[in-house]
Amino acid sequence: MEIAVLGSPAFTLGFQLAGISHIYNPEGDEAIQSELKVLLNSKDVGIVVVDSEVLASLPDRLREQMSASVSPTILGIGTEEDNTLRETIRKAIGVDLWK
């Protein structure tokens, strides 16, 4: 299965350097959301790497869908720590177990 990367060209360049070919640079919220929806339903993609800033700008429902998705697994990368998983755990178990 493939690894896909979605984000700004500056973000995706590093991954291209390491050899990833499934690069997506959609411009504008609409394009980003529709591209993500396509990737969510794709069978060949195992992991989608998304810039955490892009993740934060998404509507809640889409973010929840991405949190829940296991194939492909959506991973947010950023210079700040990503908290969506922490929220999911807190909602499911009722206690904030992170840290």
Binding site: M1, E2, I3, L13, G14, F15, Q16, L17, A18, G19, I20, S21, G46, I47, V49, S67, A68, V70, S71, T73, L75, I77, G78, T79, E80, E81, D82, L85, T88, I89, A92, I93, L97, W98, K99
Partner: protein, 205 residues
């Protein structure tokens, strides 16, 4: 359900057996829930470490590529990126944790070796190479983190479902069964008392 119980002795016997069975199932489910939770906790600890590591690795990779861009120019970096023939892929297999199917992700071709990068010693730059290296590193860490995250999500789903079943048994099913049992006992006692009373009247007549 409690409304159409026949207050007979045979129903009582059946009910008793059912209560026993349900309580057994309840105990097992509780054990499953606790076991899953235990697995989850230990995996979570690993995951927190992995995420910290990931963020640190990304920061380093970003710094390096910004440096490469600044020194060599964006064009050179992009050209090297296109020339790279390595192709990272992941293979997803299934694993079983306490009855939950979780993914096991193996990456291949994640780190490109020097010769597969498509540039010679002279054509490349140490900055671009370092950036390449750290991104290769980053991708490895991403694959590990993605596997852990997917596993955690699956475990979480199963924990939630099991927790709901345990609660349903504890707060609805078993109390209803016990209530029905109490009801039958009550009615049987009542009927016995009525019988006794009727017999007494008969005797006295």
């Amino acid at each position: 359900m409690a409304l159409d119980i026949k207050p007979t002795r045979s129903e009582l016997i059946k009910l008793k057996a059912r209560i026993k069975q349900t309580k057994n199932g309840y105990k097992l489910l509780k054990m499953k829930r606790d076991g899953l939770f235990h697995e989850f906790r230990s995996l979570l600890a690993e995951m927190i470490e992995a995420k910290k590591d990931l963020t640190a690795t990304y920061r380093l990779a970003k710094t390096r590529i910004d440096l490469a861009n600044a020194i060599e120019g964006g064009l050179a970096v992009r050209a090297t990126a296109i020339a790279n023939s390595a192709h990272p892929e992941v293979e997803v297999q299934r694993r079983n944790i306490m009855g939950v199917v979780v993914p096991n992700i193996q990456g291949s071709g994640l780190k490109s070796s020097f010769d597969s990068r498509g540039v010679g010693f002279i054509g490349s730059s140490p900055y671009i190479d370092e950036a390449s290296d750290s991104f290769g590193n980053l991708i490895e860490k991403i694959v590990t983190a993605a596997e852990m995250e997917a596993t955690l999500k699956r475990l979480l789903e199963e924990i939630e479902a099991t927790k709901r079943r345990v609660n349903a048994l504890e707060f609805k099913v078993i109390p209803e069964l016990e209530e029905a049992q109490g009801f039958i006992k009550l009615r049987l006692e009542e009927m016995e008392r009525e019988e006794t009373f009727r017999l007494k009247r008969f005797k006295n007549k």
